[in-house]
């Protein structure tokens, strides 16, 4: 196990290095960070030249990559070069955005996981019941819906709900445009109301697709374990239905699902980009859209480096988790 971990880590490092180098070339060749300055009146060629020397644009790509890499590893991620971003340090931009996105994503994923597992188990135990058919159709529909549209619809029902509250002379509860700027309030009741109101809508829209995946996955693996010999043995021993389902079947059926979360992380980031956009959160998605639009290479590199590391780390976690949870799988 330990050896496997070390070996996987050693494989991950060159993959991250080569990957970041390729992304660096991609980002560097995707545009000209000084394009806006070149057409700006009153900027001389000499100024442009000194700026491109300052940004290292006159150097070969290998040296630029090396400089970026050493900077990145020592915590110096550079500053934004986009106009109007006022030389914002990339490290601050990315870490702030990552925190915002993580708060949003982790809650939604955990909820989706719990709900998905519950629905999946119940669907499998009552296979071909009305509940099973309904949940199968719901999952199919959720898989087929563009997350952007889901988020828009959820947001607008939220707005209508708020209008209803206002018409009943109550306060607006749901936040539809980012977290409240003034914080969540002072006393516990206020915090709970504000917190739930802020997170409810984006959480619902983020959950839909993950929930569909988890419930289908859990149903399939639960069906497999329910038909396994050891479950028949457990029944033959005269154990209660609940004990057979929860202790014997469900525990083993949880193994594949627990790794799905880790493998799904790329798709989850994609979903978060859209959801943040609709609900006006300044997370990783907003940073990406902005820095692609402005063509801001330092921020883009920071963004890609962080997400790539997260993806590789979660893939590793998923492999390790599988080995830990399922003793039939020997890592080595």
């Amino acid at each position: 196990m330990f050896q496997y971990l070390i070996r996987r880590l050693l494989i991950s490092i060159p993959i991250l290095l080569i990957g970041s180098f390729l992304v660096f070339i991609l980002v560097a060749s995707a545009g000209d960070p000084l394009a806006a300055l070149r057409t700006k009146p009153g900027v001389t060629a000499a100024q442009i030249h000194s700026l491109s020397v300052q940004l290292g644009l006159d150097q070969p790509i290998f040296i630029r990559y090396w400089n970026w890499l050493t900077g990145f590893l020592t915590g110096n991620w550079g500053t934004s070069v986009a106009l109007g971003e006022a030389q914002a340090p990339v490290y601050d931009t990315i870490t702030n955005a990552l925190w915002v996105t993580l708060r949003l994503v982790i809650g939604a994923e955990l909820l989706a996981l719990v709900l998905g597992v519950a629905v999946g188990v119940f669907s499998a135990v009552r296979q071909y019941s009305i509940f099973d058919y309904i949940m199968t159709s719901v999952a199919f529909l959720m898989f087929s819906m563009p997350i952007a549209c889901v988020a828009v619809v959820v947001k607008n029902y939220g707005i209508q709900f708020n209008d209803l509250l206002v018409s009943l002379h109550l306060h607006r509860w749901l936040q539809t445009a980012g977290p409240p700027a003034t914080g969540f309030g002072n006393n516990l009741g206020q915090v709970i109301v504000n917190y739930s109101g802020t997170f409810l809508l984006p959480t619902i829209s983020l959950m839909t697709i993950s929930f569909a995946a988890y419930s289908r996955f859990q149903r399939a693996s639960m069906l497999e374990t329910l038909n396994a010999d050891y479950v028949r043995t457990a029944r033959a021993k005269g154990l209660s239905q609940a004990r057979v389902i929860f202790r014997h079947a469900m525990r083993n059926a949880l193994i594949p699902v627990s790794t799905l979360f880790a493998l799904n992380i790329g798709a989850i980031i994609g979903g978060a980009i859209i959801t943040e956009r609709v609900f006006g959160w300044n997370g990783m998605g907003t940073v990406l859209v902005k820095s692609v639009g402005n063509y801001d290479p330092p921020t883009l590199m920071g963004w890609f480096a962080v997400t790539a590391t997260v993806v590789v780390a979660f893939n590793l976690i998923s492999d390790l988790l599988y080995g830990l949870l399922d003793p039939r799988i020997r890592l080595g």
């Binding site: 993959i15 991250l16 080569i18 990957g19 390729l22 992304v23 991609l26 980002v27 060749s29 995707a30 545009g31 296979q127 199919f140 529909l141 898989f143 087929s144 819906m145 563009p146 997350i147 952007a148 549209c149 828009v152 619809v153 607008n156 707005i159 209508q160 790329g266 980031i269 994609g270 980009i273 859209i274 956009r277 609709v278 998605g285 990406l288 859209v289 692609v292 639009g293 063509y295 883009l300 963004w303 890609f304 997400t307 790539a308 993806v311 590789v312």
Partner: protein, 307 residues
């Protein structure tokens, strides 16, 4: 039996009829699979709906009184006999936009699915058959492509190139072949260990001969099912990409772009938003069902009927 009666009806002798009494017309694998697919009701209905949708998207624009780019009618008209889905902010006919968006979305989705499947199958089959160094390098390449979120890197590339539909389709395809490569590789690994492949190799067949004549024909089920699934994935990814404004741009369009243009109007003018939304869902749902039907047709062991 049908054969036997036919022979007698053709005037064959009684002896002939007896000789051919138990002949069964040999059914090819293709016709068996097609037969199973045709009997899959949901899949057939889905196929019909999808074909109908595509035909409507292609044919109906010729009969509309307005061109998709015509802005002469004034912005935000409510639905009427002239404009069945009203007009958008710029005065373009909602229905004409929707149909044109459907055309582009379908074109993007199918070209992404086809090209990524071709690349993925070739990479996966070669890696699984040759194993060793080739396999290792190709699979590390897959890992490399998987470490960056697809939508982010595609957005960056499309923004750097031109936002026309075929660029979006091409870039999406470049970052969508990895899943099918992994699946094909797994299948090629197990097929390559079978006797008929070994026999072919012993007879002197080259790598490409074995890949094209023995491996790919035996994986056609997996390949088709995954290709259909990648169509609906491409529809959704394209919609997401165009929604954040980093996908298809004018003069081309897509369902995602139309959603992006009109989503602020969901309460005031719901017809502008729900049209493209439902079109995306319809394409995606029907393709999933077709994929399901194909899976059952290719592999009857996996049918939903309990064994």
């Amino acid at each position: 039996m049908a054969n036997a009666t036919q022979t007698t009806a053709d005037g064959g002798s009684a002896a002939d009829a007896v000789r051919h009494e138990f002949d069964a017309k040999a059914r090819s694998q293709t016709s068996i699979i097609l037969g199973r697919f045709v009997r899959h009701r949901l899949a057939m209905v889905s196929l019909g709906v999808l074909v109908l949708l595509a035909l409507v998207a292609i044919i109906v624009p010729f009969f509309l009184p307005y061109n998709f780019a015509d802005t002469s009618s004034g912005g935000y008209l409510t639905p009427s006999a002239r404009h069945l889905l009203g007009t958008d902010q710029l005065g373009r006919d909602g229905l004409a936009q929707l149909l044109r968006g459907t055309q582009f979305s379908l074109a993007i989705a199918f070209s992404v699915a086809i090209s990524s499947t071709v690349v993925g199958v070739l990479v996966g089959a070669v890696a699984g058959y040759l194993r060793g160094f080739v396999d290792n390098s190709l699979m590390r390449l897959v890992d490399l492509f998987l470490i960056v979120p697809q939508i982010a890197v595609v957005a960056l590339l499309v923004h750097a190139l031109t936002p026309s539909w075929y660029v979006v389709a091409g870039v999406l395809a470049i970052f969508s072949w990895m899943q099918i490569a992994r699946i094909t590789r797994g299948e090629a690994l197990s097929l390559a260990a079978r006797e008929f492949v070994e026999a072919s190799r012993a007879a002197g067949a080259g790598t490409w001969h074995i890949v094209f004549k023995h491996l790919i024909p035996n994986m056609i089920g997996t390949i088709t099912v995954n290709a259909t699934l990648s169509v609906s994935a491409a529809v959704l990814t394209e919609a997401a990409l165009s929604f954040i404004g980093l996908g298809v741009q004018l003069p081309d369009t897509s369902l995602g772009l139309i959603v992006q243009d009109n989503y602020t109007q969901v309460l005031l003018r719901p017809w502008l938003f729900w049209g493209p939304f439902l079109a995306i869902v319809l394409i995606s749902v029907t393709i999933s069902f077709i994929g399901d039907g194909l899976r059952d047709a290719f592999d009857p062991r996996q049918t939903k009927v309990r064994a």
